[in-house]
Symmetry: none
Subunit: 237 residues, 4 copies
DNA sequence: AATGAATGAGCGTTCATTCAT
DNA sequence: AATGAATGAACGCTCATTCAT
């Protein structure tokens, strides 16, 4: 028996159809991200995948469908990787500090080179491949943003329920925090093309956390992160 | 007289080198925005410009330089169009309402179909045409954002100087307001691909204005723009 | 059975890769010789070879490499065809007559239309394709000259060893005989462009043979073609 | 008066029609020799001549006629430059040495880079421009060979008349001497593409002179240029 | 006579896709 | 299912030539 099943001979060099399909998709993603859709060359994809060109066509029909399959998978991957430390934002006393940490982590996944390349490609090809952006409502461009916003929404809602935050709409507040981080981060890094310095990441995160706490931190006695006397004055009213 | 001089009969059909150059750039912008860089066909550009292909090459050397020239001009145009009503944000009593209006106008210029197409193309080609995004620091992608932020910074600083706002850094605050608007707007509209409903624009603008005022509105007696009961409740504490 | 295997029905219409490669090279040689390198049109070559243009590029990469491959093969062919009657120059008594015959045959292969066309093309493109003329030392331009000179050198050396010729350097003498023939022949025929009359060929051959015998024939008794008394005197030593 | 006649303002910068015609021809010759006919670009010629393209067309009609005019002039120039020291071959005692000197000079003019380039171009384009080689009978390819042969013929005839040479046909003998030099020189130098070392030139010249004297030197007392012992023996008679 | 702009045909090369094995 | 060879349609760019000034 020469050709074995998918996991026949162990993990060393998986053979068989699924492995080839996977190799093609990996190579295709690389090439599409590197070159863009129309510059990408099916020959190059086949070569980098180690298969013949016809095999690519047998599996995916044409370049367009290959692209769609690859980008869908890429976005799923990006979503899977969009996680932050789940222990954060659980202790009110550390709220602002945790927000900064959340910001740093979020910028990390958001500006990850591969995730960024996916996002740029989705934006680039949005007009020519309408089916790409339909499924994901809210118009996410490949960074797992909905996942992150959802997580943050829950945390904000909890903090609000505990009285630590004063938010009229936790979902909106979560989105706003992400917006502050993401917009600044994307603009500064040319949509992920040039990496941000650690200082810049910190600065962006602190700015966002600062505005967020200014806006939504509950104004009660001992608010550590709201030392301004004006608030006290306001409270007197 | 059939053939007129260079500036013969007026604006009806301007002749001469500048007019041709202009026609080429207009056609090229159309085609590039419609098709993207590598899909764009120089033949089509020439035809749409009403000139021969070699005339395009005589003027611009090659496709790449044509692209650069066109995109540079497009960004300049976008910057020129990036203006909001300059009478806004001058009367503290109307601050929040004015912020909402500023937001609506800003989203209008930001999501203008052509401006959006330019931005998408700049993002799409950033990796292959590094020279495109260098000049503009802060990494602007074709929406005249720096211009708008600058204007807003001035207004914020004035309001802060009058004591109406309490902002540690007017530039940062202006950027944040824009970030709230722009990120939400871009995500919702697929980077300008699908127009936003008037309601969505209003919603985004109000959310941004709300967060902004929550964060930065000075808390002094008679804060007209902070009528939320929550604060009153808060004041009672 | 309509479509046959690679080597199906014999020589009638050979199929397969080698046959196509050969067809391309044949067509390319024809076109290059007819038009020169830069006038030659790859489309025409493909059509004359009965293949598509991309097949040409699959096999040879680009026009330049196709040219190099074709010219190398053409020179090898020319060398293979560069033979004269090997029974000549073996009998001293017929030396001069044999030299004339050698001359005629040599001019025949030298001025063969195809060989001449190859030589003209090699000369024409020498400056633009330096790799073409490097391998063959002595700077041969496609007529198998080294082969012929080598053969002649051997014969001259043998005759000298027998005392029939008096040559200080057989190789040089052989080259000189060829030079006399070739230069006159090439000049007269416009480098093979216009065929030489039989009379002209004879005249050139006789002149060369005459000078050769005058210069190198041993001066001993009975030298039919050397009636000068000096030679007789010389023979007495 | 701004534009003056051809020699208006002195030799510094000749103006006027003839100067322009000359400038075009000079530039065209450069470009044609450098690039060959079909690679040569009329735009480049015009630019190098310092005139506009249309001026080229006004003067010469089209590329073909420009080429013909230029090549005709180039051959005339080459003929004009084809001279050797006219004091040579006048003293029998120095005959062989003078032949070597003639050979060196002849190789010098024959392998002059520009003359060689003209020759290569004439050979290259012979098939496509039949009118180029018609006028000059004997099929000369741009080196002034007929001129040199003619001069040499006269000298050989004189020497023969004096009894120093024994030549059945001075014209043929002169051609043969030139053939020995030229063929070897052209082959060795890749038709003038790579310069010959001084040693190689000497070697070629001596070989040709040696064969020539062996073949045609009159065998009488005092043959100064035949130092071989056999000849000395011969001289004793 | 001279110029700069313009033209249309053509060329080398590439690419997504399909046959034949 | 997989391969290597083949295809035809484009595409970016160039060039000899001409028009309008």
């Amino acid at each position: 028996m020469t050709t074995v099943g998918t996991r026949g001979t162990g993990a060393a060099a998986p053979r068989g159809v699924p492995a080839k399909r996977r190799a093609i998709m990996d190579a295709a993603l690389d090439v599409f991200l590197r070159e863009g859709y129309s510059r990408a060359n099916v020959d190059v994809i086949a070569t980098e995948a180690g298969v013949s060109k016809q095999t690519v066509y047998n599996h995916f029909g044409d370049k367009e469908r290959l692209f769609n399959a690859v980008m869908e998978a890429a976005r799923a991957d990006a979503d899977a990787g969009a996680v932050v430390d789940d222990t954060l934002l659980r202790r009110p006393a550390r709220l602002k500090g945790d927000l900064v940490k959340v910001g740093r982590q979020l910028l990390g996944v958001l500006l990850d080179p591969k995730v960024s390349a996916v996002r740029r490609l989705l934006i680039a090809e949005a007009a020519h491949h309408p089916e790409l952006n339909q499924p994901c409502e809210g118009g996410d461009h490949g960074g797992g943003l909905p996942t992150l916003v959802q997580w943050l929404t829950v945390r904000v809602a909890c903090l609000a329920a505990q009285g630590d935050l004063e938010v009229p709409d936790p979902d909106r507040a979560a989105s706003q925090f992400v917006a502050l981080l993401a917009f600044e981060g994307l603009q500064s890094s040319q949509y992920g093309l040039i990496p941000l310095t650690k200082e810049r990441v910190d600065s962006i995160s602190r700015s966002a956390a600062d505005m967020f706490t200014r806006a939504y931190l509950a104004r009660r006695a001992g608010g550590a992160s709201a030392p301004e006397p004006v608030r006290l004055v306001l409270a007197e009213n």
